[in-house]
Each structure stands twice: as C-alpha cells, then as structure tokens.
C-alpha cells in the first residue's frame, strides 16, 4: 500500500500529468457546452419581427414549443401527430413540409416534431429501405405502430445481416424486450452523445500519454537497475505501477465524465434523459435504454476502453526501451480504430474495431455508434452484438495486458 501511495505521488509529481489532467477537465466543460451553443431557433414575434435564439435560450424555447409532446409515445399520439401533419400539408396543398409557407412549419409542425421522429423510418420500403413521405403514410396503420416497427426491423435485419439468421432472430428478441411505448421529452440532442464520445477519446489519449513512460521512462533513464534490485522492486513495484496508472486514469475519466454530464444535462434539462434512445436515434435501435441510461452505459464502456488502452500502453511501456517508442506505438493504437474504420471496408473492420482496446470511445467507431447500429459478429454460431463484443474485449484485455506488462517488467533485462 505504501509503495502504491509513493507511486501515485511519483506520477502526480510530473508536470505533464497535471497539465494533461487539467486539460481533460477544461475539455470536459468546453465539450459539454458546445452542443448547447449550436442550438438555434427563430420565430416571428407579435410585432412581426423575426427573432433568432441561440444556445440555452434556444433550448428553453424549443422545450416550451414542444412541451405538449412530452410523455409516452403511444400509437394514438403518433397517429394524431401524423394526421395533423398531413392535414397541415393538405391545407396548403403541398406534399413536403419544406414547401410550406414561411413560418407555418415552425408554428404547425415543429411543436409535434418529436412524435414524428422515426415514423418515416418505420414505414420504409422493406426491399429498398427507402423512406416514404409522411404525407403518403396511411395513418390508420399507425394504430399498430410498434408492430410496424417490429416488421421494419425484420426487413432491415434481413438486408443488413442477410447470411446471419441467428443475428436476425437475436435482434428481433432484443427489440421485443425494449420497453414500449417509448418516452420522449423534447430538448435532447444526439450531439451531446457525440461530444461525450470526443471527450472520452481525448481523455483516453491523455491517459495513454501518462501511462506510456511508466516503465520505459526508468529503462531509458537507467533508474530501473537500482529499483529492481530492491526487495519489492519487481512484482510489487510492477503491481503498484499498474495500479497507480489505472487509478489515475480511472479517476481522470470518471471526474471528466461526471463534469461533462452534469454540465450537458444541466444545459439540456435533466428530464430529457428519460427520453427513449429510439426517439433520438433510429426508431429500431435494439438497446432498451433511455438517454440517461445510454449516457451511463457509454460512460462505463468508455471507462473500460480507457483502462484497456492504459493496460495495453503499460504492456508496451514494459517492452520498449525508451519512452518515445512506447508513446508512439500506444498513440498509433489509440487512433487505429478510427483509421481502420475509415479505410478498411466490411466485416474485417468491424472485427478489428471491436477488438482494439481504444475502440470503446474512438472517433466514428465506439460503443455509442455500435449501440445505435445493427452489426453482429459471428462467433462460431453465436451472434454477438458489437457493443457487447467491444465491452467483452476490454474486460478481457484489462487483466490480460496487465498480466503481460507485469511479466514483461519482472523479466526485463
């Protein structure tokens, strides 16, 4: 325990560690504010003057405008919203909302927009996936809205996982377990989750930079020879170093994610976190979660990804003779999921991205995007949903690379 304390003290004495931790905290607040700052609303006031609102003022305005939508997304309410939409378009003799006269969309359609989310997707053509115009949907069919959604999921999975019928069945089972009717509380933006992803990615990189010199720094400086000749200078020191790096990384990520979520949810409103993720992402999303649960689930997945990346970095650090090499290789692996996702097509990329430690909170490929996608890996005959594969890989990698790092450090010559 004393060695762990001293090791923590040693890591925290480094100016670089403090700079990175401070930067992580600043980014957490900044990135939480940015999605709110992008919100934009406009309306015409009683005197006929156009009013533009941005940031928190816009969020508050939109919440008020869509307040009547809040609550359960029952088929009746969806049908009523679609009928109102269709009636509005019929009144003005148009087939698309963007053909409506100026101001009508804001007054008539936007207040019911949250309830219309996903309707076109649910009624998409089962063969082509093309979504119809809302004005062409038979409103009567909305009486069995969730049945339509289930049928659409089946046709979607038949397209996405054509040769993987176990995955199709698994997806149907998962969607069946999703609590319905969905809930919606206007105001939440999916950008909040995107920025949580970016925040997690930055903290991951910072933690990798902190962990990279843990072993290799002493190899490089020659301090290692003295330390490994001491009574506790091998296994116990190695374990303490692993524990110290994990504790600092975990603490940094947890603090940053708490700061981020407190800031973002305070700006967008805590009631928004009760919105079903199907009302923010695809209406067919397989996970049975609301936005708050998604935030927490993604935070835990991000933490596991950070710890897996740190574990891998510590392993590299125990193998490399200098800090520059361990840092360079660790950073390459940190950004590898993003690069692989963008450059390698098909199943190979899904497999690699699911297995790499940094995938959990990578840019463009992360547990967040996997959660809102319909990718399954075939593990033998077993269909494994990619978010579970990513989390499972991290859970295995944390102890595996820690063990290899310790072994490598103890045997270092």
């Amino acid at each position: 325990m004393r060695i762990l304390q001293l090791e923590l003290k040693r890591l925290l004495k480094s100016r670089l560690t403090w700079i990175l931790l401070a930067l992580a905290l600043v980014f957490s607040v900044l990135l939480a504010y940015l999605p709110a700052s992008y919100c934009y609303s406009n309306y015409t006031d009683e005197s006929g003057k156009a009013v533009n609102l941005t940031g928190p003022a816009s969020i508050a305005f939109e919440k008020e405008r869509q307040a009547d939508c809040a609550g359960s997304v029952t088929p009746e309410r969806v049908r009523a919203a679609v009928e109102r939409y269709q009636a509005c378009l019929a009144q003005y003799g148009v087939t698309e909302s963007y053909d409506l006269p100026e101001g009508v969309y804001e007054q008539e359609i936007l207040p019911i927009a949250p309830l219309l989310h996903g309707v076109k997707e649910a009624f998409a053509d089962p063969d082509t996936g093309m979504a119809p115009a809302l004005s062409t949907i038979d409103a009567q069919r909305l009486d069995d809205y969730y049945g339509v959604c289930e049928a659409r999921l089946a046709s979607l999975m038949a397209m996405e996982q054509a040769d993987n019928s176990p995955a199709q069945r698994k997806a149907a089972q998962m969607y069946d377990r999703v609590e319905k009717p969905f809930e919606v509380y206007p105001g939440m933006s999916p950008t909040v989750m995107d920025y949580q992803n970016i925040m997690g990615f930055l903290v991951l990189l910072f933690c990798v930079v902190i962990a990279a010199p843990v072993f290799s720094g002493d190899y490089q400086s020659g301090a290692d020879d003295i330390l490994r000749c001491t009574k506790h200078g091998r296994r116990q020191l190695g374990l303490s170093r692993l524990a110290a790096a994990f504790l600092i990384s975990a603490a940094a990520f947890i603090v940053c994610v708490i700061v981020y979520l407190l800031t973002a949810n305070s700006l967008f409103g805590w009631e928004c976190t009760k919105t079903s993720i199907q009302m923010v992402y695809s209406i067919l999303t397989l996970a049975d979660m609301d936005m708050g649960q998604l935030q927490r689930f993604f935070a835990v997945a991000g933490l596991l990804s950070v710890l897996a990346s740190v574990s891998f970095t510590l392993f590299l650090s125990s193998r490399c003779k200098n800090t520059a090499t361990s840092l360079a290789v660790a950073l390459v692996f940190g950004i590898a999921p993003t690069v692989i996702y963008m450059t390698i097509p098909g199943t190979a990329a899904v497999w690699i991205c699911s297995l790499l430690p940094a995938s959990g909170t990578g840019i463009q490929t992360s547990v967040l995007y996997a959660l809102t996608d319909f990718e399954f890996l075939k593990l033998g005959g077993l269909p494994v949903w990619t978010p579970y594969a990513m989390i499972g890989a991290c859970v295995i990698e944390i102890p595996l690379f820690s063990f290899l790092a310790l072994r490598s450090y103890c045997r270092h010559i």
Binding site: C229, T230, I413
Partner: protein, 299 residues
C-alpha cells in the same frame, strides 16, 4: 556469509563477456579490477540478479539468488555504473521511495535517510530536485540509496567516478566503516580507491578471472618488474612509447624520473622500486608502449 560465483558465463550475441568465472566472496571489501570491456559490469549485473547467466550460478550462502529472490534483494545494495533517477523526485523523495521499496518501515527509513544524507554531505540539498544536482552529487545520492537497507552484500560499480578527491576520501572512509562483517565488491579504474581499503582483489580480463588475492599477494606478482630511472626530458617520449610507463615526474633540471614495468631494466641506471597495486594493473592491462615491449620480449 558467502557469495559464490560458481562457473558463471555470459554470452551476448557475438561476445563472451564472462567466461566460466568462479569466485567466492567472503566478508570484507573486494576490489574488482579490470580494463574497459573486461566483463566487470556484466559480472556485477549478474550478481545483482538483473542479468541472467548463460551458464553457472550465483549463490548466497549456498542458495541460488534466483531461489532466494526477495530474501536476497532485502540484504543487497547496488550502485550501477550508469544510472538515472526519476526526474520528478527531490533527493529526499527519491530516498524515501527507495527505502519503501527496500522494505524499511517509514520511521526507520526517515532516520536512516537523515543519517546517510549527513554521511554523504547531501543534507542541505535533500529538498532539491535530483535533476538539478551536479554529477558528483548524483553519484552520492546513488551511494546513499545503496546503503539504505544496511546491506550484507554491497555491489558498487565504479562508485567514485565523478567524485572530487575530497569526496573520494570521505567515500573510502564511509566504506571502511561500513564494510565490517559485510561483503562489499567495488569495481573501479581508480586503483588507489581500493588499494588501501580492499582486503582482497579479483582481477578480470577478457571475461576471465586472472588473479585473486590480497594487495600484498597480488603486488608480489610484479615484484622485480617495477623500475625507476632518470632520463633527459628529450628522451622521455621515446621511453614512453617503448615502455609500460606507470608514471613520469619532472625533476626540474631538464631530467625526468620514469617509473616503468619491464622484465628487465631498460638502462644501466635503472633500479628496482617497491611495486604497488597500480603497477599490477598496468602489467596485466598494458597500454601501447608496454604491450609492444612485452610482445618483443615474448618474441
């Protein structure tokens, strides 16, 4: 208490650094003498357990040090030839860190650190970052850390490099006091540093043990081979290139006194002088002149 080096060899890719070396170290100060590349550091790293042997074993009281593991390391102190420190530490922080790794209880550790800082004259810089210390001060920090756990086996690889003459004297005194009932092995190029404090010496050349014994025993090997003569200063360079010269001293009247090693005197006015350990070192590890001469002699 005995540290046995039992038929130890170390082979790197293209070089046999240590060849079938056996030596039994008993309590006292041992000087490990050898030229650069003789295998001293490799041998010390194997004794420290940070470099595995290719063959043979290092045993402490009859038990291989790998088997003893922590038990061996808890009675072991080591100062490598080249070493560094974690850059972020002050002197005091670093010694506290090493004391914890050596398993010293906090209170005892603090007391021992203060004691050693006084002994190596670093008490006034204990809050200073190690990175800001001079080379000599850093080496004294290294010496202090090696002594922290009051080790039974102390291995010091070139401990006096970078120390000024006063510091070297203080170091020798510290070691003389410390060495009682302990095994201390010091490798050095600076022969006088071990000549008077080492009870025994081991001479290593090309990875092989060439000689062991007390200073007196070893010095006897060059008895009758150390000569002194006086030549003109113009002749001195010629003598220097031809002979294994131990020292040159200007006599002030255009004459130079030369102390040299040779089987036979090089001039009629040469006379035998009492040998020293440094002479043995030069004899066994000749530089250009002496080597040429001995080659000629062998021929």
């Amino acid at each position: 208490m005995e540290l046995q080096i039992d038929h130890v060899s170390k082979r790197f890719k293209d070089k046999n650094a240590v060849r079938n070396l056996s030596l039994s170290l008993t309590p006292g100060v041992w000087g490990l003498l050898g030229a650069n590349g003789a295998g001293k550091t490799t041998l010390m790293r194997m004794i420290a357990g940070i470099l595995p042997t290719t063959s043979g074993e290092v045993k402490y009281d009859g038990v291989p040090i790998e088997t003893l593991g922590e038990k061996y390391r808890s009675v072991f102190g080591y100062l490598p030839q080249e070493f560094g420190f974690p850059q972020e530490f002050s002197v005091g922080d670093y010694l506290s860190y090493v004391a914890a790794l050596k398993g010293l209880p906090p209170r005892k550790g603090r007391r021992r650190i203060q004691e050693l800082l006084e002994r190596v004259s670093l008490a006034n810089v204990q809050h200073k970052k190690i990175a800001r210390l001079s080379g000599g001060m850093k080496r004294r920090v290294g010496i202090a850390q090696a002594l922290l756990n009051d080790p039974e086996v102390l291995i010091l690889d070139e401990p006096t490099g970078g120390l000024d003459p006063g510091e070297r004297v203080r170091f020798r005194n510290l070691l003389s006091e410390f060495a009682h009932d302990r095994i201390v092995l010091i490798s050095t190029h600076i022969v006088p540093d071990v000549e008077y404090i080492a009870t025994c010496h081991a001479v290593i050349k090309n990875g092989k043990l060439r000689a062991t014994g007390t200073t007196e025993e070893l010095v006897r090997l060059v008895e009758g081979k150390v000569w002194s003569c006086t030549v003109s200063s113009e002749e001195a360079p010629e003598y220097e290139s031809r002979l294994s010269v131990a020292s040159l001293r200007s006599e002030g009247d255009g004459r130079v006194s030369i102390r040299y090693l040779a089987e036979r005197p090089c001039s009629a006015d040469s006379h035998l002088v009492p040998p020293r350990l440094e002479d043995l070192y030069l004899w066994m590890f000749p530089q250009n002149g002496g080597e040429n001469e001995r080659r000629r002699e062998r021929a």
